[in-house]
């Protein structure tokens, strides 16, 4: 039935209805995680199969009543009892579920987002046959007693920028699919979609002034001694400065750095491309390339400059700035 309501949003009057429906749902209680599902957020309607069985039940009832057939009536009423119980059980399967958080790591446009929803159940009973649905994608899962789980829902992306997901539904047809109970909720924040990197970008712009001109082959590990620092888990043994460690009575490791090379300046205005989107894509590819080569870069967007830096955080800041470009 929620399938019917889901389908409503296609036509224009449907969209109005949809907006009204969403507003109504939102007025009834919290709709963004973290939230606990209570009776105000749980909706329940018969499924198509439920209606079919109802029809069958009606036929059985009329026939048995007419022929004054008590065993037939008993059969009918057993089905009725099954129906009323399965309504309760469907509701119970959702009641008290906690949707703790939603979120996703940013992806490049065109890649599917793995939208993660964290759901917890405090009940001392299993919750079988749950279904998390967004649009036409759905994920079926079961929750054991007192468990937390993370459900990944793939969501396709097309454009860069902030992606606001519409309504998600957590639903169940447990125990025999006569009724569908569902809860609607909205993700608490939008998801960042980075621009899609150009497939064959031109080489990195090495700048006009080739002052240092020394293009050394870069060793990913670096080979130039930079400094000593406290040993951290994961440092390979050959990096440990044994002698220095002995002197300081604590483990020290050598920190190695690449020979410092020239800074790159990546300017949106000077990137090749026919239109803005294409330039942004090229720039994205360059950013990734620079990061791979561990070079320091500055990103210029109109009047704004970010950097220079070479870290992952810098890369993310730059990608975010590009994604948010108007």
């Amino acid at each position: 039935m929620s399938a019917v309501l889901r389908r409503v949003g296609r036509s224009l009057p449907g969209r109005t209805l949809q907006a009204w429906l969403d507003g109504w749902v939102a007025r009834r209680g919290p709709t963004r995680p973290p939230l606990t599902l209570k009776y105000r957020q749980i909706f329940i309607l018969p499924t198509r199969f439920g209606w079919l069985l109802g029809l069958l039940m009606f036929a059985m009832l009329m026939g048995s009543l007419n022929f004054n057939n008590n065993l037939g009536l008993l059969t009918t009423f057993i089905v009725a009892g099954l129906g009323s119980n399965s309504m309760l059980l469907a509701y119970r399967n959702l009641e008290g579920l906690r949707i703790l958080k939603t979120g996703a790591s940013p992806v490049f446009a065109g890649q599917p987002i793995q939208f993660l929803i964290t759901i917890a159940s405090d009940a001392g009973r299993e919750r079988p046959g749950l279904e998390l649905r967004h649009g036409s994608t759905a994920q079926v899962f079961s929750l054991p007693a007192r468990a937390i789980t993370e459900i990944a829902l793939p969501v396709p992306t097309r454009h860069r920028g902030w992606l606001t997901l519409d309504r998600l539904a957590l639903q169940t047809g447990h125990p025999i699919g006569l009724f569908e109970a569902w809860s609607w909720f909205w993700p608490e924040r939008a998801i960042l979609v980075w621009p899609r990197p150009a497939e064959r970008p031109p080489p990195l712009p090495e700048g006009d002034a080739d002052r240092e001109g020394s293009e050394q082959r870069r060793n990913p590990d670096g080979d130039e001694f930079y400094s000593l620092r406290a040993w951290r888990e994961g440092d390979p043994l050959h990096r440990v400065a044994w002698k220095a460690s002995q002197r300081h009575n604590t483990l020290l490791a050598r920190d190695l750095r690449q020979p410092r090379s020239r800074d790159l300046v990546l300017d949106l205005a000077r990137a090749p491309g026919r239109d803005l989107e294409e330039r942004i894509r090229v720039l994205t590819a360059w950013l990734l390339q620079a990061r791979r080569q561990d070079r320091s870069w500055t990103l210029r967007l109109g009047g704004k400059a970010i950097g220079p830096d070479r870290t992952e955080a810098h890369l993310h800041a730059c990608l975010k700035a590009l994604a948010e470009q108007p």
Binding site: L52, N69, N70, I78, A80
Partner: protein, 652 residues
């Protein structure tokens, strides 16, 4: 092509279908049943070996052929049997395309419908087993289908036990609602549409006419015909004549009912000092007769008392029917015989039974008085070598002659027919009454069980001054038949299991069946009213009963919903956890509350700072707790649990 459903869901669905269709399959032509079972077997094999559905064209052709077969087999005769057979055949055909959740569910839920339709044919106690097992398997099937729903066809685990348990719990939870509805759902006083006329599957009841030697199989049928509860003591065995069709016409071989058989009685039967009031539960027999003792004073509203004191229901009796009757045995039926009736009651084919006619003439010359003549014939039956036996030879053209002079052995029909022919030939108006005689008195439950084997035929002669008077020639030959019942006259077992203890068991079973009939099957409009009156409620109209039903339903559902929806109390999962929580609660009472942000160790250290005297102990316990939970080597939890429980913080 979607993935195929798993074997388990398909197997349960087919099991539900086969169980619910079993009685229907038994009632249809064997080759049709074999076809349906074959389709089920094919589907099972398909699920086992992961075959896909057959081509669409083949499916359509096979379904069409099956439908044609049904039409041929049933000759286009539309009735309940045809409808259910058609339904079974359609479901059998559905097996070929039962590959989606939707189809599986359809078949499983129609199983409930099939179960309900079977009760249109029979509501015997034994079908309770059928109802319960059929519903259970159908529910298991639905549960199993649900667990594989959602595009994920991979069934969880190999064990079927969780699904069976879940379905059983579901059914048990459905019971309170079902019982409430059953008791309180308003019943119809009148049917909404017409009742069909043919439901019995080849079972025989008393037939509409009588030709000696044709229905002896009825005497071997021990199934109950009806049960009677008397308001007072039961009448003595010799008076238990249950009146059925009254036969006037004789064509030489067969006795039939006269054209005026359905005409209502114009004689008023008054109640007398010996009148009896009793309730009859009549098993369906597809005819309109309601069996009564002589002479019915009044019956149920929908019944009619005919001119020869039969009671006729408005519709054929196709379900278990309960009716109240008052009978008065002291009544003179037709003190004056009209000439028309006399002509019918004397008519005999001219060219039959010459020896009997001669005997009648001879008797008439010797005994001018009717009563003396009758006594003479009965005395002749008694003294000559006449035998009562069920293995009698069929009679030919001159049936009465053969019987009276050559065979001299037969059962009630032979005697009644021959006696009636003899009487008519002697000029005494005679008619034959068929029905039942006797019955088994279930002393413990105080009801009279009348079986099909108690079927009987006797005669009524019209005598000046007494009107129609019952004369039972069988009683003259075999008084035991009348006094001790039909079983007493049979020498030797009738079949392999005709043993005494089997007979006792049957009687015991019938007592349960009687209770079942009385409280479950016979729970109709009237009984529902009287049940509610018995509870002290006033006479309720239908809509009031419906209101009451909703009220009680609410009362029943409330605790059920509470039990289902109650969240189990926040009990900590393990004993360790409970001990730890106990310790925290005790500390809290001393004003030391763990913040949500604090780890156990952080909390313990804070406590140590605040209360150094016992802080060390708390830190020690917190460390044990952490080791149990997070330690690489699993510590023994016992010491911690004991120490944590024993821990009592001192008053600050």
């Amino acid at each position: 092509m979607k993935q195929l459903p798993p074997f388990s869901a398909v197997a349960w669905t087919i099991a539900a279908f086969v169980i619910s269709a079993l009685p229907h399959l038994a009632a249809m032509p064997p080759w049709l049943a074999a076809g349906i079972l074959g389709a089920c077997a094919w589907r099972l094999a398909a699920a086992r070996y992961r075959w896909g559905p057959p081509p669409r064209l083949l499916r359509i052709v096979l379904t069409g052929v099956a439908l044609v077969f049904v039409l041929v087999a049933f000759g286009g005769l539309w009735g309940r049997r045809t409808a259910t057979v058609l339904l079974c055949v359609m479901l059998g055909a559905k097996m070929m395309e039962m590959f989606a959740v939707r189809d599986l569910r359809l078949v499983a839920s129609v199983s409930f419908f099939l179960i309900a339709t079977q009760f249109l044919f029979s509501e015997r106690l034994i079908y309770l087993v059928y109802l319960v097992s059929g519903s259970l398997v159908a529910t298991i099937a639905l549960t199993r289908i649900q667990t594989v729903h959602g595009g994920q066809w991979t069934a969880r685990g190999g064990s079927e036990l969780p699904a069976i348990r879940q379905a059983a719990v579901l059914l048990m939870l459905a019971a309170p609602v079902a019982l409430t509805l059953f008791v309180l759902f308003p019943r119809l006083a009148q049917p909404l549409w017409g009742l069909p006329d043919q439901v019995m599957d080849g079972r025989t009841g008393l037939s509409e006419d009588m030709s000696p030697g044709s229905i002896s199989n009825l005497f071997l049928d021990d199934s109950p015909a009806f049960r009677v509860e008397f308001d007072g003591p039961p009448p003595p065995p010799g008076e238990r004549y249950w009146r059925g069709p009254v036969l006037w016409n004789f064509d030489g071989t067969t006795w039939t009912r006269p054209f005026f058989g359905d005409a209502p009685s114009r004689q008023f039967v008054a109640e007398g000092p010996r009148s009896l009031s009793y309730q009859v539960q009549l098993e369906p027999h597809e005819r309109r007769w309601l069996f009564v003792l002589d002479y019915p004073v009044r019956g149920p509203d929908q019944a009619l008392i005919t001119v020869d004191h039969q009671m006729l229901n408005r519709h054929p009796v196709t379900t278990l029917t309960r009716y109240d009757v008052v009978s008065n045995p002291d009544f003179t039926d037709m003190p004056e015989l009209s000439s028309g009736a006399q002509a019918v009651a004397l008519r005999l084919p001219e060219d039959r039974n010459p020896r009997t006619r001669a005997l009648a003439q001879e008797l008439r010359e010797r005994h001018p008085d009717d009563r003396a003549l009758i006594n003479a014939v009965l005395g002749w039956f008694r003294e000559e070598a006449f035998y009562y036996t069920l293995s009698a030879a069929p009679l030919g053209r001159h049936g009465a002659d053969e019987f009276l002079f050559d065979l001299r052995s037969g059962y009630c029909e032979y005697y009644a027919s021959a006696f009636a022919i003899l009487m008519r030939a002697a000029g005494i108006p005679t008619r034959i009454v068929t029905g039942y005689q006797g019955g088994f008195w279930q002393a413990a439950s105080e009801y009279l069980l009348v079986r099909q084997s108690d079927a009987h035929a006797w005669t009524e002669v019209w005598l000046e001054g007494d009107g129609w008077t019952r004369v039972d020639p069988t009683a003259a030959v075999s008084p035991a038949r009348i006094e001790q019942g039909s079983r007493s006259v049979i020498d030797g077992p009738r079949h392999l299991f005709d043993l005494n203890w089997v007979e006792n068991l049957r009687n015991q079973y019938d007592r349960i069946q009687h209770l079942w009939n009385r409280w479950v099957l016979g729970f109709d409009h009237d009984r529902q009213r009287s049940f509610l009156r018995g509870l002290g409620l006033p006479d309720l109209t239908t809509d009031r009963i419906a209101l009451l039903m909703l009220l009680v339903l609410g009362l029943v559902m409330a605790p059920l919903s509470y039990a289902l929806l109650r969240q189990p109390r926040g009990r900590a999962a393990s004993e360790v956890e409970r001990a730890w929580q106990l310790m925290l609660r005790r500390l809290k009472r001393r004003g030391l509350t763990r913040q949500a942000s604090e780890t156990p160790l952080e909390f313990a250290r804070r406590v140590r700072n605040a209360r150094p005297q016992e802080g060390e102990r708390i830190v020690e316990l917190a460390l044990m707790y952490c080791r149990i939970h997070y330690g690489e080597v699993q510590d023994d939890a016992r010491p911690f649990i004991e120490q944590a429980r024993a821990f009592r913080p001192a008053r600050a």
